[in-house]
């Protein structure tokens, strides 16, 4: 029997890896996801077979609740809310790993406990709990239940270090006693890890969420891999390692796109002081040019090439469908429309791509940063829709700017730049954007969706 189960696991693992491989192109990605689903189905069915009906009522109850909750949420969630949804699913995985450790602690008590189980049990309980609590804080920030600004207080790093040290000490105690420590010891370990998850995400700002979400994803992967050591399952080890690797790649890619070391993203509380920098910098009155929708419509309609630059503002205003409608109008007039996507635009890796895909924008019209930057110099208009810091030319040439060195979209190199913005308030990082004062830049103030709709109507009327 075990041989059959092992062989089924082998098939499942092959399907996971091949499925991930198929994700390397939008044309095959859907098939890839199906392969991974098939792998998951096989793995789960044969795990049930292996348990030979022991505990099935409990399992089926849990699976029924989880499947309903998970699928209903997945179908209902708006595409703009996808970052927080992914954070919640991720937290669920981390929480499951921590709970498995907790139950294993009492089941394996005494008899089958050994040093490998003790070490992996402690690690997966800690990492799983951090991932669970951290994901929930990330969810609350993204859902704007709590402030998206970094939450800081004096001695923060010290408190975090103290909590981490306490957890590690409890973990060592658990390991040397092979889990025979008093119950409060393990409870304190769990609560401490949950607290650490909260404290760790609190000081990280909304705009840095692409990094945090990737990192938490990788944490859950690691927790699952370690759970594999705990219950002696190569299946969990391999899946966990795949996810850990993917989360790490994304985390590194995101910090690189912000030109900030990961430690700065995690501990720098970037954007905490926000508003104050603007006040101090507000010397000369800004030379900004405000344009009307009709002016901009003429500019767009008679252009050869227009590059749209979407940002988080487009997601907030849910303007992706309006943007697509404007693009359709322009294309009808023979304008070449493309979209420039900055890697950290939005709140998770690839956020803008998903929103535009939802609005039926073809993925081959979406340009990544390098391709987009070779298009701007020959573009007639760059239309910035709710993006700010990722278009800030100060990142290129103002050494004192906090974002100096961050790779940006060279919107200012287009013949004309039009910026759709709610007001002159600065972006998340609280840094002034010299783009707005450049002679070839016009500002179109208002809600992103309303402005884009007005542009579409004006283009149509021409």
């Amino acid at each position: 029997m075990t041989v059959v189960v092992d062989l089924a696991n082998l098939v499942a693992i092959a399907l996971f890896i091949y499925g991930l491989h198929e994700l390397n192109s939008p044309a095959t990605a859907r098939r890839g996801n199906r392969f991974a689903m098939a792998g998951m189905a096989i793995a789960l069915i044969f795990i049930l077979v292996r348990t030979q009906a022991v505990g099935w009522p409990e399992v089926l109850l849990g699976v029924a609740i989880g499947a309903i909750v998970g699928v209903v949420a997945a179908v209902k969630v708006k595409m703009t809310a996808m970052p927080q949804m992914v954070a919640l699913y991720n937290g669920a995985g981390g929480g499951a790993a921590a709970l498995i450790s907790t139950v294993e602690h009492y089941v394996a008590h005494g008899s089958s406990m050994n040093d490998v189980i003790a070490v992996s049990l402690v690690l997966s309980a800690i990492i799983g709990s951090v991932s669970f609590a951290g994901s929930i804080i990330a969810f609350l920030k993204l859902q704007e239940v709590m402030t998206g600004r970094p939450v800081t207080y004096p001695g923060q790093q010290f408190v975090n270090a103290l909590v981490l040290f306490g957890i590690l000490a409890l973990g060592v105690w658990f390991i040397v006693t092979l889990g025979t420590l008093p119950a409060w010891g393990y409870l304190a370990l769990l609560l401490g890890a949950l607290l650490l998850g909260v404290l760790f995400v609190l000081p990280i700002g909304g705009a840095d969420m692409p990094v945090v979400i990737s990192l938490l994803n990788s944490f859950t992967g690691v927790a699952v891999a370690i759970t594999g050591f705990e219950i002696d399952s190569t299946l969990l080890i391999i899946c966990g390692a795949l996810v850990g690797a993917s989360g790490t790649i994304l985390t590194v890619a995101m910090s690189r796109a912000m030109n900030r070391p990961l430690t700065n993203v995690l501990f720098g509380a970037f954007g905490a002081k926000g508003g104050m920098e603007i006040a101090s910098a507000g010397g000369a009155p800004q030379q900004i040019r405000s344009a009307s929708a009709d002016d901009v419509a003429v500019m767009l309609a008679y252009a050869n090439k227009v590059v749209f630059v979407p940002g988080y503002g487009m997601a907030v205003a849910q303007a992706q469908h309006s943007v697509k409608a404007l693009a359709d109008q322009l294309e009808k007039r023979g304008v070449n429309v493309m979209y420039a996507i900055h890697p950290v635009a939005g709140r998770m890796p690839g956020h803008m791509n998903v929103l535009l895909a939802e609005a039926n924008v073809a993925y081959n019209q979406l340009l990544d940063m390098d391709d987009a930057n070779s298009e701007f110099p020959t573009a007639d208009v760059a239309l910035v829709i709710g993006a700010n810091d990722v278009t800030n030319p100060a990142a290129r040439n103002v050494r004192t700017s906090p974002i100096y060195g961050m790779p940006i979209l060279d919107v200012d190199k287009a013949a004309n730049a039009v910026v759709l913005k709610r007001s002159m308030r600065s972006g998340f990082a609280g840094i002034e954007n010299p783009l707005y004062e450049m002679p070839n830049t016009s500002m179109l103030f208002g809600d992103a969706k309303a402005s884009v709709d007005a542009l579409t109507a004006a283009v149509k009327a021409l």
Binding site: A29, A67, G70, A74, M82, V243, M348, N360, Y363
Partner: protein, 104 residues
């Protein structure tokens, strides 16, 4: 003490999986980063398999504790949310990705 050679085998598997993961995933284009993240997110839902094993172990050990049973069922529930929700959301996103028809 766990059998050392078995432990080393598991470590070998872990190492190989990490390398495969880096190789396969570094080829995914930025356009697909969100689906990649949610697909891998669903894959770590394999933790559900671990939860199923732990429920069986709990029942087999004859531990009659309401608290532990609730925790074990909660582990299964969270794992199931992770698996089913993760794959459903990925599928929903990938359905939206289309290529522009050449004729247009």
């Amino acid at each position: 003490m766990m059998d050392i050679s078995h432990f080393v085998e598991l470590l070998t598997v872990l190492m190989l999986a990490i390398f495969v993961g880096f190789e396969v995933i570094s080829k995914v284009p930025t356009t697909l980063h969100t689906p990649l993240m949610s697909a891998t997110n669903a894959i770590h839902g394999i933790v559900l398999a671990g939860a199923i094993v732990i429920v069986a172990a709990l029942v087999e050990a004859g531990v009659h504790s309401a608290l532990l049973t609730i925790l074990a069922v909660a582990a299964v529930t969270l794992g199931a949310i992770n698996v089913f929700g993760g794959f459903a959301v990925t599928e929903r996103m990938l359905q939206m990705f289309r290529r522009k028809e050449s004729g247009k």
